[in-house]
């Protein structure tokens, strides 16, 4: 049976933050759906690992540092024409309101918010996005449906992406291009382990049991499946939405 509205055959998809975590999961799963992938991240070796996990041929790795304008410029100049982009590069941050300073908030806004916005603009200006493309931003439930202690700056950076998506969806619609957010709940990844030394594994486990109705954390594949839907023609009448993938966390 060949009928599959979720297929990504014939599409070229760019994924940022593809060297680990959710971005890597999205890159790998999209390749299994037939997409030709362009992956980017800072670490050349880890990007090669991502490519080795993929199915199909002709995938491209473009290692750049997207926290700098030069990195955004280099990526777009080397990037082939694409049919979709998933902005997955991002950082977590734990900081109480009382301790937010300019450096702290500028760091997270730069990477989580400003980079994806400027990357979209440059992809558009350099005509790298084909007509009827799909843009997917990895936002969060934090800042959109929930909040948490220590997450004010993170919530700000992610909530802003959901805000951007509303207006950008309107403008990109002129080219038939769609812009949507995915809002994941907690997906344990290496980056989270490194940053989140605040809590013990037991504490996190306790949080999970009590707060996630589906009784587990998210996996990168859970988020990737949402991305596949938003990148595929199956979602061709969907733009400007927040797709919440959180095991039911935000219904409580």
């Amino acid at each position: 049976m060949s009928y599959n509205p979720f297929s990504l055959e014939g599409k070229t998809i760019l994924v940022t933050g593809a060297s680990s975590g959710i971005g890597r999961g999205i890159a790998v799963e999209c390749s299994k759906m037939g997409a030709k992938m362009v992956v980017t991240g800072r670490n050349v070796e880890r990007l090669s690992e991502t490519i080795s996990m993929m199915e199909g041929e002709g995938h491209i790795s473009i290692p750049v540092d997207l926290s700098q304008q030069e990195g955004i410029d280099n990526l777009v100049s080397q990037c082939p024409e694409i049919n979709g982009v998933v902005h997955s590069a991002g950082i977590p941050q734990m900081c109480s309101v009382k301790h937010i300073d300019r450096k702290t908030i500028e760091e997270i806004l730069n990477i989580n918010t400003i980079t994806p916005i400027l990357l979209n603009t440059l992809l558009l200006k350099k005509k790298k996005l084909q007509k009827k493309s799909s843009i997917v931003l990895i936002s969060s439930i934090s800042g959109v449906t929930i909040g948490n202690v220590g997450e004010a700056t993170y919530s700000t950076s992610k909530g802003a992406l959901s805000g951007y998506t509303k207006s950008a969806a309107y403008e990109f619609a002129a080219q038939g291009t769609r812009v949507n957010c995915i809002n994941p709940g907690l997906v344990p990844t290496r980056i989270l382990e490194l940053s989140n030394e605040m809590f013990s594994a037991e504490q996190l486990e306790e949080t999970t049991k009590g707060r996630y109705p589906l009784k587990r954390y998210g996996k990168p594949e859970d988020i990737a499946n949402g991305a596949i839907f938003l990148l595929s023609d199956a979602s061709s009448w969907i733009t400007g939405i927040n797709l919440i993938i959180d095991g039911g966390y935000s219904v409580i």
Binding site: M94, C95, S96, K98, H99, V149, G150, E197, M198, F199, S200, Q203
Partner: protein, 75 residues
């Protein structure tokens, strides 16, 4: 920063608990106001004052403010 100054600085991170309740031998985790927010604040305070990074595990490994002070000094 000596121990006395550290205790005073520690106390500043609390909004509800009166400063005079904080002594070197105070078991800070038994304070009503102790929780994830105050823990985050203490981690940030140590970062600001000592330019040292302590973790949640560090906080769990000590009981009194003096023990925390000594732990920070060994970092």
């Amino acid at each position: 920063m000596n121990l006395e100054e550290f205790v005073a600085r520690f106390a500043e991170e609390f909004d509800e608990t009166p400063a005079e309740q904080f002594k070197a031998d105070t078991v800070f985790k038994s304070l009503d106001e102790w929780g994830s927010l105050t823990a985050l604040s203490i981690i940030a305070m140590v970062d600001e004052e000592f330019e040292k990074r302590i973790t949640g595990a560090d906080l769990r490994s000590v009981n009194t403010i003096e023990e925390l002070y000594n732990l920070v000094l060994t970092k």
